[in-house]
């Protein structure tokens, strides 16, 4: 068997026996997704033409064909999302390919014990994402009003001649900026630590710039949480409470999920 294999995810074999895989189109839009049983694990895959999807052609398409990339990334995401609603799945990253079935089977067998642990971790739990945004201007007003150091400095500056005032004000602005960053981190970290109490695990991800989010306010936190099914409602309720309490000072909260557990399945690392 020399055909290229696209791997979407791995599920426990018993789940694949209990629930039949629905009919889903594969990566090339022609073939279908099917299962390969490998011991106590089942791989969810589709076949690809090795010439059409060689390493070079995929690299070229990924770098130069935005439309292709968007369509395929969307297909991968939608497919894994559908599968994650049916099975306990270790989701694989976009474009995880194996040269043939033998090499896929070998990799799965080599990591079987680790994967079984991951299934155990994921069963009955969901991955949720929380992005926290902050309107700097609004928060700046709050930070500057409630800070005695800044107040004292401001009073001191107002006594100076105009030219000197200019430089001192610039210094003060700089100080305010750093106080603002500190406040943003402090608040976000506190919220993260609190939310971790509802979760089995909580990880911090890189925040995105406004060129990615398309928003005017700044992303101050991007966290992922693995939460037990029964705790999700409480977790979301807490976020709603934060939103309600902190809206006026410029904070926004965006929770999304459940996602395929990309951040908590060790095979994808």
């Amino acid at each position: 068997m020399d055909g290229l294999i696209y791997l979407y995810g791995l599920i426990p074999a018993h789940e694949s026996r209990e629930r039949t895989l629905p009919s889903l189109k594969g990566f090339d839009g022609r073939g279908e997704i099917y299962t390969i049983p490998i011991g106590s694990i089942t791989a969810l895959v589709c076949n690809l033409d090795p010439h059409e999807y060689s390493e070079d052609s995929i690299k070229d398409k990924t770098n130069n064909d935005m439309e292709w990339l968007q369509e395929k990334a969307f297909h991968h995401h939608e497919t894994v999302l559908k599968l994650s609603k049916m099975y306990t799945i270790i989701p694989l990253k976009f474009c995880t390919l194996y040269m043939n079935q033998t090499s896929l089977e070998k990799t799965v067998r080599d990591h079987e014990a680790k994967m079984m642990d991951t299934f155990e971790l994921l069963t009955g739990n969901e991955e949720w994402n929380l992005k926290i945004y902050c309107d700097d201007e609004l928060l700046k007003t709050k930070v500057s009003q409630n800070n005695p150091v800044l107040e004292a400095k401001r009073a001191e500056i107002s006594e100076l001649p105009k030219g000197k005032q200019f430089f001192e004000k610039k210094k003060l602005d700089k100080l305010l900026e750093s106080e603002l960053e500190e406040e943003k981190n402090k608040v976000s970290e506190k919220i993260h630590e609190h939310l971790k109490e509802f979760a089995l695990k909580g990880n911090v991800k890189k925040t995105w710039g406004s060129n990615v989010t398309g928003r005017k306010d700044d992303m101050t936190w991007n966290g992922v949480y693995l939460i037990g099914d029964s705790k999700v409602e409480e977790f979301l309720g807490q976020i709603q409470q934060y939103e309600k309490d902190m809206k006026e000072t410029g904070w926004r909260f965006e929770a999304s999920g459940p996602w395929p557990a990309y951040h908590f399945s060790s095979f994808s690392k």
Binding site: K162, G163, K164, Q165, F166, F167, K170
Partner: protein, 94 residues
């Protein structure tokens, strides 16, 4: 005159609106120079080599320059983001 905030960090040089795009470009360059001068002046002041009188004169000149810049931005309907043009992979100008 159309407000420039719709341009999202890009200079709008379409033929029907060229003078506005040009004003944005000119003000962007002036703002860049102003900020360079300001940072240099702050370094000089912090370096401790200027007399009180020199600091006072420099501060007042920079303050006037900043005020003038604000007026010009208002006249051309531009805000700070409009002058911070997008340099693609290099990031933002200011």
């Amino acid at each position: 005159m159309q407000p420039a905030s719709q341009t999202n960090g890009k200079i709008n040089l379409d033929p029907d609106n060229a003078e506005h795009g040009l004003a944005q470009l000119v003000l962007t360059v002036i703002e860049l120079l102003r900020q360079i001068v300001e940072r240099h002046a702050i370094r000089r002041v912090e370096g401790g080599t200027l007399t009180d009188e020199q600091i006072e004169n420099l501060g007042e000149a920079l303050m006037n320059l900043e005020e003038k810049m604000e007026e010009l931005k208002e006249i051309f309907g531009l805000d700070a983001d409009d002058l911070n043009i997008d340099l693609g992979p290099l990031g933002s100008l200011l």
